[in-house]
Symmetry: C2
């Protein structure tokens, strides 16, 4: 069988293995890696999880290994719906919630439910790189809207919507991460959020709000979610990956019941239902208040890591290097002088300084970001962050100097 | 937001909720249900799972809740690859295996990787109904090939391939369940398997071999898998749902490494990776030999249920009703006289006899099967099977009599 000839056209769009290869490189034990967006395993509540799991097996018996409803374990859906009030300022009932096998599946189900080939999807520039793997499968066209220190620039979005209308096109979805954006680390303030939902509503475009990091704030909670500002127009996605542990593979969508019904149909042909045992563990753990306690500890841990990262940058960065200052989440986004290519700098940094990050172009639809890169401070040991950042700064300094030599 | 206008075209194809509604109906506590294809929870090894899970948390610590590789937990992939030898007669290495979040995800990833809109997919008639939910998302065209007591009729398949060629079309995938077919309960003998792989090879069409039930044989193992007969041309799919428990949501694909690489790209945008903790539990459970012991017990349990089902049919069936005799798996496929509609008979049977099954048309692409239906004997308590079958037989007898009255 000549397999190369049998692959679907969409595989040409998602077949970029450069990111996977780079991430593998970054997992070398001799390299200090700020590359992968992994939570710190120290936040995983192993003793409590062990206890809760034993309790689930005792209380639920073999039901915990049987098939479950496609929309999710009802008690978990109810618990998630209730929690949307205090945590997100959103009034929800069980009918608004579908449990998914993580945040990626949530996004994939939304894409499957809404997107036809050729549809326009608005994304932030830069945006979450795995979102490309999701959306590209559906043959969509991206329109990228730049972010600044306050998230997606809604003024530019409006210009794009006007331009699309002029071309006779209609955007089908706006994908945004308004709190502690990946990779930007920036958060959209309330007034801009209001403008965004108003604009989306005016143009009748659903918003996919990705709230993966929103609960991991430092000094204060982010502004109300977009979902809270316009419940009917927003498909809200979050995940237990960052507030519990990604190995459990669970997330959720809060959407109008008419959409939930379609998402269930889509999920039937994606994975039928999410893990019954995982859902019962998360429910039991959450119900006992253990998740909320875990989140308090996680915030403190990530805030300490953020502080160390920013202090190290201030101490070691060469002139001409700038970065964002996240109030939550996992990421700092760095900009270096034009003309330095972050992709080749990464290769150099891994080899000569034994440090890794993700180069900027991976987060753009159009190859921009060559002089930008992402640092994820969540995963590396606290005690190694300063050393790692100083290695990054040396790498940047080396490339600035080299560029200077070349131009002289 | 007017959500009805926003759904993708594919939702019209997969939006048939009739099956879901019927299955719900069948879950009424007062109804004896042969509808859902659920394993008997008595086969789930709860004590062992509880012990193994505690051990995983002790031995692997927080790694068991961290992200894992997209292709799966390496030790589990190795164990699956090794086991493919004795169980399936297939020589496999870790590079041939991707772990999936159940059998449905396995099929979805294969569809995503291979199928363009308009591609022709060959399916059996009747076939696994959820396969339609998977494939329809990709906008494919189905060509259905009838089964008989020996599975897919390869002579008819050849006629179809000739006809497709005449139309200038090329089939992109052959989906088959050669052992204990769902819903037919039939198994393809060795000589027909040889003809099938030879034919597929000649026409250069990949086979998706669904082996979900193959290990649950009764008196003797089914013939060698299609994968064993043509390793390069077959994408082999199986699941831990029937040999461990579906609530764990794990399955696997054995495919050439070039295909595995593409499947990993597809999975990155579907759910990124399968549950780390679930994979470690299944690995540890399997490694200790517990799965193979469980399978021996499951075979005996399902064989006893099959026996009771067939004896009850022999004892109670009215003249004009025929059925298949499965040598493994969960299903008996029944045919009643032409002119009796199994869909309306089901509604009547639920109301008047408090018994449920799945009507035939759900398993066909083209509305056939109106005088056929599926009985799943795996889930109902052994002690209720005879009563349930006698209710089904009374329902059929009632409809035969009524039809007779109408025609007189």
């Amino acid at each position: 069988m000549d397999w190369q000839d049998t692959f679907a056209d969409r595989m040409d769009l998602i077949g970029d293995t450069a990111v996977i290869e780079l991430l593998k490189l970054a997992e070398r034990p001799d390299v200090l890696s700020f590359a992968g967006g992994l939570p710190d395993a120290a936040t995983f509540p192993m003793d409590a999880v062990k206890e809760v799991t034993a309790q689930v097996f005792d209380d639920h018996g073999s039901m915990s290994l049987q098939y479950g409803p496609t929309a999710g374990y009802t008690a978990l859906r109810e618990w998630i719906a209730e929690r949307m009030g205090p945590v997100e300022g959103v009034t929800a009932t069980v009918d608004d919630i579908i449990v998914t096998s993580g945040g990626i599946e949530a996004m994939d189900l939304i894409a499957k439910t809404l997107l036809n080939p050729g549809d326009v999807v608005i994304v932030e520039a830069p945006t979450y790189l795995t979102a490309f793997s999701v959306f590209r499968c559906y043959g969509v066209e991206f329109v990228a809207v730049d972010i600044d220190d306050e998230g997606m620039r809604v003024d530019l979005l409006e210009e794009q919507l006007v331009e699309l209308e002029r071309q006779g096109k209609h955007a089908k979805l706006i994908y945004t991460m308004p709190a502690f954006q990946n990779p930007g680390g920036v958060t959209m303030p309330l007034d801009r959020r209001r403008k965004l939902v108003e604009l989306a509503d005016r143009y009748n475009i659903p918003i996919l709000e990705d709230h993966a990091y929103a609960e991991l704030y430092f000094d204060r909670a982010p502004p109300p979610s977009l979902k809270a500002l316009n419940p009917d127009g927003v498909l809200f996605v979050s995940t237990f990956s960052k507030i519990f542990g990604p190995g459990i593979r669970l997330g959720w969508i809060d959407a109008p019941p008419a959409v939930i019904a379609q998402l269930c149909q889509a999920k039937l042909g994606s994975d039928q239902c999410s893990s019954t045992v995982a859902q019962r563990i998360v429910y039991e753990y959450g119900r006992q208040g253990l998740m909320d306690s875990q989140i308090v500890l996680s915030r403190a841990l990530y805030q300490a890591k953020r502080n160390t990262t920013l202090e190290a940058l201030t101490g070691h960065a060469p002139p001409g290097m700038t970065w964002t200052r996240p109030d939550g989440g996992f990421y700092v986004w760095l900009t270096i002088p034009e003309g330095i290519d972050s992709t080749s700098m990464l290769a150099w940094a891994v080899e000569h300084e034994k440090v890794a990050f993700v180069a900027g172009p991976s987060f753009y639809t159009d190859g921009r970001g060559t002089n930008q890169f992402r640092v994820c401070y969540s995963y590396l040991d606290q005690g190694l962050i300063e050393e790692g950042i100083s290695r990054i700064c040396r790498s940047v300094a080396h490339h600035i100097e080299r560029r200077h030599r070349v131009s002289v």
